[in-house]
Amino acid sequence: MGGQQRVFRRKIRSVQSTKKITKAMEMIASSRIIKAQRQLEEAAPYTRELFAAISAAASHAAGVEKHPLTAEARLENRAIFLVVTADRGLAGAYSINAIREAEGLTRYLVDDRGFEDVIPYVIGRKGVGFYNFREREIGESWTGFSDQPTLSSAQEIAKALLDRFLLPTEEGGADEIHIVYTHFVNMVTQEVRVRRILPVEVIEEEVDVSEGRIGSPDNQTGDDKPYLPLYDFEPSANAVLDELLPRYVESAVYTALLLSAASEHAARRRACKSATDNAEELIKTYVRLANQARQAEITQEISEIVGGADALSSATAGS
């Protein structure tokens, strides 16, 4: 076998083993998307009911706008954003898209809103790497669970954010907390979103006591706003709200983690699928080149034999 042929054979083998890896990752990611989607579905009822309960409590509680967790920024000094990125690469532009959005948010908060200090809180090794490389300050970071988030990690993050939010500004407390995550629309579409989680934006319903209900039950068909009953609170509307709001943060972080994990798997599946396709393309090209090299070698051998035989016969004819 000629040298050229050997080179092509080696290249084919190497691309084939890369293809095996990307193919395996593609299949793992596909199965994990389904798992992440199921987790999302299972968390959905809690989130929905929690929202309903918060709206109900907020509509009854006195001084909701003065509650520490809902009061609008006292001084626009310091903001925090939580950015959700991946722990591993091979997921296309997943992490960098989230980081880019976070950078845009930072510019908006500093230039347009007049915040003096914007601190990133980072989930995922890729994000940590980004900020460390640029020697930028990181508030806190968590790694190791971006592809399979658990409730306890979400609770830990929510607690860290809440603690920071409730500190007085002079001691390093934050006035606003945003979260940058990747929303999982469907298998092919994921979009990066920014959501402000603190202060909480509470949707208050108009209280119509004469009806004994909040909102108007008559136009249920007109707009689909749910109308809320006149609840009896135990121990009181404000106490219930005090308990509900921290859980809102927890649930918002958990949902964002789950959505981002599903998006990460979808991005990785897509990236690995195109890598596998490219590997196939490359193998096809190399096989063609290897065949050409083999053919050229055979042709050369034949012409050498024919040339040799020719030379021999003309030599014997001459003697």
């Binding site: 299972e42 809690y46 409730l151 609840y231 609170f233 135990e234 509900l244």
Partner: protein, 129 residues
């Protein structure tokens, strides 16, 4: 007879759903029995057992470690931080945890929380039997 539509949901997944003739929850201010036709309530749940009497079948018990309870138009929702059915509770483990937590320092808040959790679990087992 009217009945209650009950769902017990925790952040991780829905625990139980069905219709019941009566439920008993433990709020911060004490136990509260709910029958069909009760007025709308939104309450903070204390750590403790919850009893659900399904329309058909035996009563169910859950150990709930904090959460909320809301009721409107015979639709009851229990938003639990953690909810465990009696069957899910490992008695030996709960007893072990209780013994361990009792020996801990009085100042140790985590041990106190662990003790309360273990006690709630054992209480659920006790009343379920």
């Amino acid at each position: 007879m009217a009945e209650l539509t009950v769902s017990v949901v925790s952040l991780e997944h829905p625990e139980w759903e069905g219709s019941a003739s009566q439920i008993v929850v433990k709020t911060l201010e004490g136990e509260m029995g709910i029958l069909p036709g009760h007025e709308p309530v939104l309450a903070t749940l204390a750590q403790g057992p919850i009893r659900i009497d399904p329309v058909d079948g035996d009563p169910l018990f859950f150990a709930v470690h904090g959460g909320f309870f809301s009721l409107d138009a015979n639709r009851a929702i229990i938003l639990a931080d953690v909810a465990e059915t009696a069957a899910e509770i490992d008695v030996a483990r709960a007893q072990e945890a209780k013994a361990k937590a009792e020996q801990a320092d009085d100042e140790d808040l985590e041990a106190a929380a662990a003790l309360r959790r273990a006690e709630t679990r054992l209480r659920v087992i006790e009343i379920a039997e």
